[in-house]
């Protein structure tokens, strides 16, 4: 089974965001980068499909050339090759991103059975890249998938809604968008990490089109520091807490 997973490098945000002077971007000077949990789970789900059915997994990233670091770290758990659509690192809106991914997939010799996205990216959360790609390739799509089982060329997908699970079935080839928790990512092994360094990665520069959704500036939402009332770490503090439980009506 040939699987493509689209992953995006995002800032490893600390406990607050710091903006640059003109408030047009996050100040990233002291920040690292990571992948969204949705996409880490997506890679694990893809690797499990390969383990069950054979075939290969390809990773695709549109972003700064330094995204290679996130790509290699994911390759350490199994994916075989990668495509990096290299940009200057500035933001692309969802339509522009989808169009570049569509072009890249059309150029591929590999015919993918499953194309996996995160349901929304951790940073800009547009909820649409996977859906736009599916439409352009005339493929069916199931979104927000949290459980996956493939049998006889049909993917059985579970989507969590409250305490219930909705079940969808879709014949392959298909596009899926998945959520954190669909498959808990394994830790990379040392040999896995070493192998990852030598796996093939094709780099194609891409030209950014005019944005349809043009970021003007960023703003931090007001945080009202609550000024916590401190309680002592002993029986006295515990009794005060019980009084609070009573006051707010959670203990009768």
């Amino acid at each position: 089974m040939e699987v493509l997973v689209c992953i995006k490098r995002v800032i490893l945000a600390g406990n607050t965001f710091v903006l640059n002077d003109d408030h047009t971007d996050i100040d990233t000077r002291h920040l690292g980068y990571t992948l969204s949990p949705h996409e880490e789970s997506a890679v694990e789900a893809a690797v499990r499909l390969n383990e069950e059915f054979g075939g290969t997994t390809t990773l695709l990233t549109l972003g700064h050339v330094d995204s290679e670091e996130q790509i290699r770290s994911q390759m350490a758990i199994g994916p075989d090759r990668a495509i990096l659509l290299e940009t200057d690192g500035s933001e692309w809106d969802p339509q522009a991103t989808a169009n570049a991914i569509i072009e890249a997939i059309k150029k591929e010799e590999t015919k993918f059975d499953v194309i996996i996205f995160g349901s929304e990216s951790a940073d800009t959360a547009g909820y649409q890249t996977g859906i736009r790609v599916a439409h352009a390739l005339s493929l069916p799509i199931v979104t927000n998938v949290k459980g996956l089982k493939v049998e006889n060329g049909v993917a059985r997908c579970e989507r969590a809604v409250g305490t219930m699970r909705e079940i969808y079935e879709v014949p392959l080839p298909a596009v899926l968008t998945v959520r954190d928790g669909i498959a808990i990512p394994r830790y990379p092994s040392v040999p896995g990490r070493i192998k990852a360094r030598k796996k093939p990665m094709d780099v194609f520069p891409v030209e950014k089109p005019a944005a349809k959704i043009e970021k003007v500036k960023l703003e931090l939402p007001p945080v009202k520091a609550k000024g916590a009332t401190m309680l002592s770490a002993d029986a006295d503090g515990a009794h005060k807490l019980v009084e609070i439980f009573r006051e707010i009506g959670v203990l009768s």
Binding site: I184, E219, A228, L241
Partner: protein, 312 residues
């Protein structure tokens, strides 16, 4: 006229969808709705100010069918030329707008908190509500979802006329649909509905007995951070946060949780937040109403004992 997509689950309309309608009324005096399948729900939608309901009915629309809903929506847009297409920011709302946007080849702006149609600008949420983006949208028609719980749903009684129509659907449109539903292993109170959540992070370790015991005494549910689910200590269904479940209980007790922005995104609407942490400078402290600095393995047994004594 503003067109609002109203999602429903087998006829039941969520509060977030009514928030979408309320928001739409602030953009234009005339609000019309699109309901796909099920019932038109004219009484409820009329109460929230909708004057016309475009109700899509079709033999293939038995249960939720995302792409068909997008097709029906795109059809009404072409027929009625609204000044904007809005939806409450539910998972289904975002999904169906994205389908319609792809079909109409128009941008879709998700999770908006403000919209100005005159200047075609929006404010929208990033990072699960931790960062606000001001954006200009270059489009012939605004398509936007409204971030949940930005505004309260308010009635504005009108009488809604129902116009049923049969959308032209392709075979592909109805290929992906709900074919079955299963209940999650029913075990006590669910996270989203719980009035009390006792939540544990890395500081708890593998053994959640203390967390479970206190949650049980308070009739609440167990929550946890992503460190805990990634380690396999607790099931993913219990994860609170940006990529877990968003909760708004009366009481949230965060034990051994540092308060990363992504965790806070899921619990900041808790009415009362209590933090128990060895580190008095942990970020969770600035979101807490009450805090105890110390080792949870000593503090929780004392709280459990005091609660048991109080219950008699």
């Amino acid at each position: 006229m503003i067109l609002v997509f109203v999602d429903h689950d087998r006829g039941v309309i969520e509060d977030i969808s009514l928030q979408g309608i309320t928001f739409a009324r602030s953009l234009d005096a005339t609000v019309e709705a699109v309901v796909v399948g099920g019932e038109a729900n004219a009484a409820l939608l009329g109460e929230y100010g909708v004057t016309k309901i475009h109700h899509a009915t079709h033999a293939s629309l038995v249960d939720y069918t995302p792409q068909a809903a997008g097709r029906a929506l795109a059809e009404v847009v072409k027929r009625t030329s609204p000044s904007a297409l809005i939806s409450g920011g539910t998972p289904r709302g975002n999904e169906v707008l994205a389908h319609a946007g792809a079909m109409l080849d128009l941008p879709v702006v998700a999770d908006c908190s403000e919209i100005d149609l005159g200047t075609s600008t929006v404010k929208r949420m990033r990072w699960g509500g931790n960062l606000i983006e001001h954006a200009k949208v270059h489009t012939s028609m605004m398509i936007a979802s409204i971030f949940p719980h930005q505004i309260a749903a308010l009635p504005a009684p009108a009488s809604a006329e129902v116009a049923s129509f049969e959308p032209e659907l392709t075979a592909q449109d109805t290929l992906v649909k709900i074919i079955d539903r299963t209940g999650e292993a029913a075990g006590g109170v669910t996270l989203a509905e719980a009035k009390v959540i006792v939540s544990g992070g890395r500081g708890v370790g593998e053994d959640f007995t203390l967390i479970e015991t206190l949650a049980g005494l308070l009739g609440g549910a167990v929550g946890c951070s992503r460190v805990v689910t990634a380690a396999g200590w607790r099931p993913h269904a219990e994860q609170v946060g940006q990529t877990g479940t968003k909760v708004a209980p009366d009481l949230y007790i965060a034990c051994g949780i540092s308060g990363a922005t992504q965790h806070i995104a899921g619990c900041k609407n808790s009415k009362t937040l209590i933090a128990i942490n060895t580190d008095g400078d942990a970020p969770i402290m600035s979101y807490a109403d009450y805090a105890i600095v110390g080792d949870l393995h000593q503090i929780l047994p004392a709280i459990i004992a005091a609660t048991q004594a109080a219950k008699g």
